[in-house]
């Protein structure tokens, strides 16, 4: 599919799915179960609002979601207590598939959610969305309910419905624009049609999710896009404009570490038949600098993008889902 055609056909605005009665009826007609997963680590300030609002609007008022779950990485604040008080199903990541051990990272929680949650579609939302609205969730599941060929829906933000006309810059954050988009343009030009490939909000069908391996750190979104693209092509993706997202801003140093992890994931995926077999062994040490008085200090970060295998390869998962061994 030509990326321009894809952009026209598979790019939505959340308002296209605002008729929730119709969406719920269609979900029920297809016999789908929907799960919403919020991975957390010390999010007590925002988690209550997110759970309360989504549960009120998308479980109580319109029964679109069958479960709202928090998968927590061992928060030291009141995240789990607050989430439970507002009615979320709360799980500690370490308690899910304990025989596989525990890794620290958002990808770990996303991966374990596939095992723990029951939905045929899982929506992942970050926990730090200050301006959370129901459309953050229904805007992502809408294309999956209405378009059977779509497997994976990404969010993008900040394209107002009303504007002064003409063109204006649009796209992702700093890491997207100076790292991911150039990389995709070089190696996977089709994927450059995604406006915000690193957005932390997306909805995926289970049969796709369970076949994906999961980097547990920064590279999880990049890995998903590359793997789904290789397996199903650009037609498997859609993207939904969720208007505006207010969240914490990250420092340049944090973004540098993120970029390092993403590069590890990207390059490791280029190797098997990807044309980059000749790459040397990748180092796992990122070096950054900080100034103290008149001296510069070298700060070293050891960043290794460990990966979890496709969930469907785990015997425990196959047993839980009633799949043959």
């Amino acid at each position: 599919m030509d990326p321009r055609d894809w952009l026209a056909r598979n790019t939505f605005h959340h308002s296209a799915f605002q008729d929730l009665r119709r969406l719920v009826a269609e979900k029920e007609r297809q016999g789908l179960r929907l799960s919403l997963c919020i991975p957390t680590l010390n999010e007590e300030k925002t988690i209550g609002k997110e759970i309360m609002l989504l549960r009120a609007e998308l479980v109580s008022r319109y029964p679109l979601f069958d479960e709202i779950a928090v998968i927590d990485s061992g928060s030291s604040d009141r995240t789990r207590e607050v989430a439970a008080a507002f009615g979320a199903d709360v799980y500690e990541s370490a308690d899910i598939l304990p025989e596989t051990g525990t890794r620290r990272g958002k990808g770990e929680n996303l991966w374990k959610a596939i095992y723990q949650l029951a939905g045929d579609i899982i929506v992942y939302l970050d926990a730090d969305i200050k301006n959370i609205r129901p459309h953050f969730a229904y805007g992502l599941v809408g294309p999956l309910i209405e378009r059977p060929e779509v497997r994976y829906v990404k969010a993008f933000y900040d394209r107002p419905l009303a504007g002064a006309g003409g063109t204006r810059p649009s796209g992702g954050g700093r890491v997207t624009e100076i790292l991911i988009r150039p990389l995709f343009s070089l190696f996977f030009p089709d994927l450059a049609a995604l406006i915000q490939p690193l957005s932390g909000e997306y909805a995926v069908r289970r049969e796709t999710l369970e076949r994906l391996s999961f980097p547990i750190g920064y590279g999880v979104e990049t890995a998903h896009l590359m793997d789904v693209y290789r397996a199903h092509g650009l037609e498997a993706f859609a993207q939904t404009d969720l208007d505006r997202r207010v969240h914490r801003n990250q420092s340049t140093g944090d973004l540098g570490r993120m970029a390092f992890g993403i590069l590890q994931t990207f390059l490791s995926r280029l190797r098997p038949g990807g044309g980059a077999e000749a790459l040397p062994e990748l180092h796992a040490m990122l070096r950054q600098f900080q100034a103290r008085d008149n001296a510069y200090e070298l700060v070293e970060h050891h960043i290794v993008e460990e990966e979890r295998p496709p969930m469907i390869d785990l015997p425990a998962y196959r047993q839980r889902r009633g799949l043959p061994p």
Binding site: G48, L53, A56, V82, N131, V246
Partner: protein
């Protein structure tokens, strides 16, 4: 017809049902509170309310020329109309951060107390009545009134009442706080601004470089000398002052916002005259232009404390374990009182303004909201059942 005792017996179930609707109420409060709605710019909030009314099955959901949002819950006979009203606007400027934070026991955000919670209650009450399977005989009008605050001066509510197709028999004004308030009567009120400004031909040599702040100080000193009686209750609130742009420049304009409240229309009139006189004096002495603008006026009036509607309200609150506090208010109820409509103002929960410097952030408790919603059921049923009727 149910007796008042039967009405009161419904209240525990009403509170339980309201508690079950807690998250829907809070979600409404958050979404309403985060929609900018400075006075005169309430349309998006009103649209949200209208959508909620329509989803709840109310009829005639519509916005009028003043951009009020109104809807009708039809009664079985519709011989009476009960108006349930609250202001749709907020004192928060449209460009301010309007994020509402949700904590396990409270909401915190800019002006959540004034008036997001009351609007959320208006949006949620139809669901509560449906859950309780209560069908009133009277028509109930739900109104999110535009332009209620400041210079808006209850413009939306006044317009609605002036143009209502049928007479309103009872009014119930909702305020977010405080649960237990039972305002049965209104204080008279004068709201205005005094502006000191340097004229274009200001003679700097003659008058010295005092600018507009020192004459305004003189105005304030003179206002403080106005005798304010304790009975009838009277007060003068100096609510805001703005002037100048920097440390080193002479302030060309200073503005004082104030409100005078009194149980007596005569005293209000007297204070008004005194303020007009003192402003004229300061203007003459300072060589500045000093303007006084009273842009809002409300007359005292309302129900006696022994009126059956007040008694019903008290009984409802007491049955819910809430101590009623009866006092006079300057709320929107005065627009109803002006038209002779028996009315009450009630609060939904407990809350407070946080002591932060921007003066916007307010906090309100989640726990009492169920009782706040349940009281509305009780008062509506009392009005509907004829228990609140006054002497003919």
């Amino acid at each position: 017809m149910s007796s008042m005792e039967q009405v009161l017996d419904i209240l525990p179930a009403a509170r339980k049902a309201a508690d079950d609707l807690r998250d829907l109420l809070l979600a409404n409060a958050v979404m309403i509170g985060e929609i900018p709605a400075a006075t005169g710019n309430e349309q998006r909030r009103v649209d949200f309310l209208l959508q909620r009314f329509a989803e709840s099955g109310l009829s005639s959901c519509s916005s009028d020329e003043r951009r009020n949002g109104a809807a009708l819950l039809p009664g079985s006979d519709g011989r009476r109309h009960i108006l349930l009203a609250t202001g749709a606007d907020t004192g928060v400027p449209d460009d301010a951060d309007q994020t509402v934070e949700v904590e396990p026991d409270r909401l915190v955000g800019p002006f959540v107390v004034d008036n997001s919670i009351a609007l959320a209650v208006l949006a949620t009450l139809p669901l509560l009545l449906e859950r309780l399977q209560l069908r009133l005989r009277s028509h109930v009008l739900f109104l999110a009134a535009a332009r209620s605050l400041g210079r808006g001066n209850l413009d939306g509510l006044k317009y609605f009442l002036a143009n209502a197709r049928a007479p309103v028999h009872f009014g119930l004004c909702l305020e977010s706080v405080q649960l237990g308030r039972l305002n049965h009567a209104c204080l008279g009120m004068l709201r205005g601004e005094i502006v000191c400004r340097l004229p274009d031909d200001y003679n700097w040599a003659q008058h010295g470089a005092t600018g507009s702040i020192i004459p305004m100080n003189d105005v304030i000193t003179r206002i403080n000398r106005i005798p304010v009686p304790r009975r009838p209750f009277t007060s003068i609130v100096l609510g805001s002052i703005h002037g100048g742009i920097s440390h080193q420049n002479i302030a060309r304009q200073t503005t004082l916002g104030f409100e005078v409240r009194s149980e007596s229309a005569d005293i209000l009139h007297e204070i008004r005259q005194r303020m007009e006189d003192l402003v004229a004096e300061v203007g003459a002495q300072s060589g500045l232009r000093v303007d006084l603008d009273f842009f809002a006026r409300r007359e005292p009036g309302g129900l006696d404390i022994g009126h059956p509607l007040v008694r019903c309200g008290r009984a409802v609150l007491e049955r819910l374990g809430v101590t009623p506090t009866t006092y006079r208010t300057t709320s929107g109820m005065s627009a109803m009182v002006d038209r002779g409509i028996p009315a009450l103002t009630v609060g939904v929960t407990t809350g407070e303004r946080l002591g932060r410097l921007d003066e916007f952030d307010e906090a309100c408790a989640i726990g009492p909201m169920a009782a706040g919603l349940a009281q509305l059921v009780g008062i509506l049923l009392a009005m509907d059942g004829g228990h609140a009727d006054g002497p003919a």
